[in-house]
């Protein structure tokens, strides 16, 4: 045995051994990890026990990290599609980085000097939007977004526009104290280990867990009650539950009166410019910062909203204002909605959930919230100067995720979810849903997207971000004729509140040159040619499509990836990226930090091993490109680079010269003693590494609750530049933003109005200021008698998208997906267990192997997502089960649906642009032949690929 050469945190290390801390990226959960290395190779990865996110635990994906480093699919050379080679064949020549930069920078320089929006830059699961969005903004193109449009923008915006915060990185259940948790549409997705830790705590504390999900996999398996709902109907279920709660007086009156706009007075007189807006004294103009009024039952007159001495606001009722307007409270309007439109009989019919179960669960949460109140002896002061000696909480927590989000009715469903949480009084209180700073933020947050095409100019940075939160039609990015400016048609009349952009539209619109032809499309870590698109087969054809002159319709496609994904095969230029263990990264407060309920936290990745020769972190590539292009922000006025590499950028970049806020909040200031705000600290990254790669700042207890109206917190957040205003963040039971758009559509609001009847009808219908349920849009466009079965996917707990079939351990856990079908349905369809069958949607079909399951709602079939692979991709054997037996449901999902006026429109939520990929309806029938279909010609691994397969056994 060799001698112990060092000791790190209790690890005695022998020569050649090292222990290093960094942040996981086997999924987007961002757990802290401890990596043991031996002779420069990854030996073992475990959870970092001092890390706030995962507290020492680690999932299957994170545990399999060492095998990612020995993936057979590793790309190590820049690749250029061979002259004359077809896209999709992966027929590349290896080129030098110099040549890659030369090709790319010349092309980008020309675009930037003529029409910057001809560059479209879309990123997948990157966690580095702070850099990528800044880069695109400095380049001057509005055509930037990450993957939120495909992922869960409905979950984000639905709550952000309602309660001022959202789930996962920005909030979640108070697992330590809650006594009742309902999960709506939550599979493995977000967040992973924190949710599992929380479920374990809930069980230790004897709390009840309810899973509302068509499928009882994963968390459903440990739920105390399963609600097998029909997909896409959660909004109706929630409205039914609100009906029960309000009918039985089970709403938190005080919370509604002080923290939400429930008592605020809405003008119900029709036909005026103020129809459906909050009543204002002396006809003051509607604005984002109005205080609004309540009806004082003492003086029988409108008084400004807030907790004011002597004022007793009415929660329900209809009143006449001094200027003769008829007004109702928001709560009155919601109550009328649920009582009139959501009888339990109707809700049960829509959702297939028995009336008894709906009513019982609603009463259970109502009574738990009312009677099991938690009181903490914490003093705090509200926004109206009232001092409180305690913090109360109703211990019911509700968490929603993709099952709500990925439907074309998802935004309004998440609005309903938010309303349910408001009625129970469980926002940012003990035992309920807790915010994580920088949230709550004003509703919606202040940044607005660029709203004027004239600001997109050659050789000029955009003055505003590409993405933001519109509050009125004037915030949209439209041409003078009302047509979209962005290639993905985000912030258009078709899709107004597209806070995350619409990555799912990029290929389709670029192919159609609608609204215009682009030149270069850059994808980073986005597998748009496969599992991250709807209608994959057609995406592939569009990527390959050519003009009459033989040039491609999408002229130049650049892909950055560390691995040989399907998308790589379609690239013209491939830039070999690094893995998460080989580079610096920031998990920034400017993007999606790892904050906790108690305060802020952010983290970094550090390179714990060297990348293979030829690989370069994409961040370095962006900095180098910015320097070559002389982008402002990256270079000084003379075009001289300000940052020599990404590490330098992380440390020294600040939001503005006079705003010393940077990517990382910890150890700022010359001496490293400041946090959040402070001069750049040259030793900042060393400090992070010393602290196991994260920074955490805990707020004093008085600032940890009721933060929407907690003046101490709001002041602190303003002082530390987390928010731009410190007025109370009053939650929106009733959304005036929705009503502004609706008024424009009705022609009642001055200013910008939709151009076409189609646009007007669409906005008038869906921009309802009160949450409501409508059938997913696909229902109206396909033959409902023919396509009767819902088909959805769930993310397995051992696989993150398409990444993990290259992982020798994880693919042993799941190497083939089946179509799970309830035997009740199978009997109707005369299909046997393990039989191969055709699954057909309105525009395509696939062949799958059916497996019986009693753990699925009978009108629904489901499968694991992203298991099916294009033969040869990820450098798997082309005969691999993933290519021959596994399948991809995406082929069946329409990327566009009829718009009802002879045209087509993206298959997405008409409010936020969230892709509606859970809306799919199919029919299923026996197949005489076996094997997955469609099959694709195998793609061959490109040059420069390395196969390090380190764990392959050799038989004796």
């Amino acid at each position: 045995m060799t001698e112990i050469s060092s000791e790190v945190d209790g690890h005695k290390l022998y020569e050649g051994q090292e222990v290093k801390y960094t942040t996981c990226y086997m999924c987007a959960c961002r757990c802290g990890i401890k990596v043991t290395l031996e002779d420069g190779k990854v030996k073992y990865i475990q959870g970092n026990s001092s890390h706030p996110t995962n507290q020492g635990v680690i999932c299957a994906k994170g545990s399999a990290g060492p095998m990612k480093q020995v993936s057979p699919a590793r790309i190590t050379k820049p690749l250029l599609r061979k002259e004359g080679a077809e896209r999709g064949k992966a027929d590349f020549e290896e080129i030098s980085w110099e040549r890659a930069y030369d090709i790319l920078s010349k092309r980008l320089k020309k675009i930037r000097g003529t029409d910057p929006k001809k560059l479209a830059f879309f990123t997948g699961r990157d966690q580095m939007q702070a850099l990528t969005s800044y880069w695109a903004k400095q380049f001057g193109t509005p055509n930037f977004a990450a993957h939120g449009g495909f992922c869960s923008v409905n979950m984000a915006t639905g709550m952000i526009y309602s309660v001022g915060g959202t789930s996962w990185e920005f909030g979640g259940p108070d697992w330590d104290r809650t006594k009742y948790v309902i999960l709506f549409g939550v599979a493995e997705d977000h967040d992973s280990n924190p949710m599992k830790l929380g479920i374990g705590k809930l069980k230790d504390n004897g709390g009840k867990l309810v899973a509302v999900n068509p499928v009882q996999s994963g968390y459903g398996a440990v739920a105390d009650e399963w609600v097998p709902i029909r997909p896409g109907t959660d909004g109706a279920l929630i409205m039914g539950m609100i009906h029960v709660l309000i009918s039985n007086g089970l709403y938190d009156r005080k919370f509604l009166l002080t923290q939400t706009n429930a008592p605020q007075l809405v003008v119900v007189d029709e036909g005026g410019a103020d129809e459906g807006l909050f009543w204002q004294e002396d006809g003051a103009e509607d604005s984002d910062t109005n205080v609004n009024y309540v009806w004082d039952t003492v003086t029988l007159s409108p008084k400004p909203f807030g907790s004011h001495a002597g004022v007793k606001p009415a929660l329900v009722g209809e009143f006449k204002t001094p200027d003769g307007k008829t007004v109702k409270t928001s709560f009155q309007l919601l109550t009328e909605r649920v009582l009139n439109d959501y009888s339990l009989e109707k809700v049960s019919h829509i959702t297939k959930v028995p009336i008894e179960q709906i009513e019982r669960i609603a009463l259970e949460i109502g009574v738990t919230a009312r009677d099991e109140t938690i009181t903490l002896p914490i003093e705090w002061t509200d926004a109206w100067g009232n001092h409180h000696t305690k913090v109360d909480g109703n211990p019911v927590a509700i968490h929603g995720m993709r099952g709500l989000a990925a439907h074309s009715n998802g935004f309004q469903t998440v609005r309903a979810l938010s309303a349910l949480m408001m009625i129970l009084g469980i926002i940012d209180r003990p035992g309920g849903f807790r915010h994580k700073p920088p949230f709550p933020r004003p509703i919606p947050p202040c940044p607005k997207p660029i709203d004027d095409p004239a600001l997109i100019k050659p050789n000029t940075a955009l003055p505003n971000p590409e993405l933001g939160f519109p509050t009125k039609p004037e915030n949209l990015l439209l041409e003078d004729d009302g047509s979209p400016v962005r290639i993905d048609k985000a912030f258009s009349w078709e899709f107004p509140l597209t806070a995350h952009g619409m990555i799912q539209n990029v290929i389709t619109n670029a192919y159609k040159a609608d609204p215009y032809k682009i030149d270069t499309l850059i994808f980073f870590m986005a597998n748009m040619a496969w599992n991250s698109s709807m209608n994959t087969s057609k995406m592939i054809e569009m990527l390959k499509a050519k003009e009459k002159d033989g040039s491609h319709k999408i002229p130049f496609l650049v892909v950055s990836d560390a691995f040989f994904s399907e998308q790589v095969a379609f690239a013209d230029l491939v830039l070999p990226d690094t893995t998460y263990l080989e580079r610096y990264d920031v998990i920034s407060l400017l993007d999606r930090p790892i904050s906790e309920y108690t305060g802020i936290a952010d983290s970094i990745r550090q390179p714990v091993i060297d990348p293979p020769e030829g690989c370069e972190p994409f961040q370095e590539t962006l900095i180098k490109l910015a320097n070559k292009l002389g982008l402002p922000g990256f270079c000084d006025d003379g075009g001289k680079p300000k940052f020599k590499d990404y590490k330098d950028f992380i440390i020294n970049w600040t939001v503005a010269p006079d705003t010393p806020v940077g990517f990382l909040s910890g150890w700022r200031g010359k001496d490293g003693r400041d946090h959040l705000i402070g001069e750049p600290n040259p030793n900042q990254l060393d400090e992070y590494i010393k602290n196991k790669c994260f920074f955490q700042f805990e707020l004093e207890e008085s600032l940890q609750y009721n933060r929407n109206i907690n003046q101490g917190y709001l002041n602190w957040a303003l002082d530390h530049k987390l928010i731009r205003r410190n007025d109370p963040i009053v939650m929106r039971l009733y959304s005036e933003v929705m009503q502004r758009f609706r008024l424009s559509a009705k022609g009642l609001r001055p200013g910008r109005q939709p151009e076409t009847k189609l646009q007007r009808d669409r906005i008038a219908k869906y921009f309802d200021p009160i949450p409501f349920w409508y059938p997913p849009l696909e229902d109206a466009t396909v033959d409902g008698k023919k396509y009767t079965i819902h088909a959805i996917t769930q993310r397995p707990m051992v696989m993150y998208h398409s990444w993990d079939s290259q992982n020798a351990w994880l693919r042993q856990v799941i190497g083939q997906n089946f179509m799970y079908m309830n035997p009740i349905k199978a009997a109707e369809l005369n299909i046997d267990d393990m039989q191969w069958a055709w699954v057909e949607s309105a525009h395509g079909k696939i062949r799958v192997q059916v497996k019986f399951s009693n753990a699925v709602q009978p009108d629904t079939v489901w499968t694991w997502n992203s298991i099916g692979k294009m033969a040869g991709a990820w450098n798997l054997n082309p005969e691999a089960n993933e290519a021959k037996k596994a399948f991809l449901l995406n082929h069946l999902i329409a990327e566009e649906i009829p718009d009802g006026a002879g045209g087509v429109v993206s298959n997405s939520d008409p409010i936020t642009g969230q892709a509606g990929w859970y809306d799919l309806k199919v029919r299923i029938y026996k197949s005489d032949t076996e094997g997955a279909w469609p099959l694709f010609d195998p793609i061959k691994p490109p040059p420069g690929i390395i196969n390090l397969s380190g764990n392959e056994g050799k038989t004796k």
Partner: protein, 243 residues
Amino acid sequence: MKQLALVIDLYKCVGCHACAVNCKSWNSTGQFGPLKDHDPYGKEPTGVWFNRVQTYEVGSFPDTQVINFPKSCMHCADAPCVSVCPTNASFKREEDGIVLVNYDDCIGCKYCSWACPYGCREFDEFEGVMKKCTLCVDRIYNTDLPEDERQPACVLSCPTRARVFGDINDPQSEASKAISKGMGYKLMPDSGANPSNHYLPHRKVSVKVDDDEITVKKQGAIKAVRRKVDVEEVVIEDFGIGG
């Protein structure tokens, strides 16, 4: 006599495979490894795993229960794998009850895997020897590791903390307490092997709302329960809680 074992709470197991994969990772380079894979990127890869998670469904819709069931060597008190082993390669340690295989003495005859009632033996066809869970014996006594990490890899990794490790013959151990508190049971108790690992069964938390809990406080609550009404007719009086 000391008997180390795992106590696994099925009511907390979400079937995430963290325990299985982290086990595979630790033991691949641990003293009882490697845990090699066959055809890792080929048609149908297989490999040696000390811990595997199976998923079952019980009952018919809608009374369905999915059960995730992690399974590894039970470190039986009367381990049949030990008694059938012709070379004494399989042995049970007196000091802590862990059942191990001495790879040097194992001839790969597979008698033990036929004798094991739980199917928890893994034949390593590359080395021609039988392998299995060691309860991370190379971790739990390993003074090169920090003290709080001297636990099996599966226990440290488990994201719902469904696994407890300890001496089930010591009534004061966390493992024994978990068994008595959670109605721990042994898999197939009549197998004759007297397994040491225990499982805690699924439990169901229910919340009962009595009529009086609603009716007492709902007087005057918004009227119109399950009643079809037109907008104009909705009778609303506000007597919600907490006002």
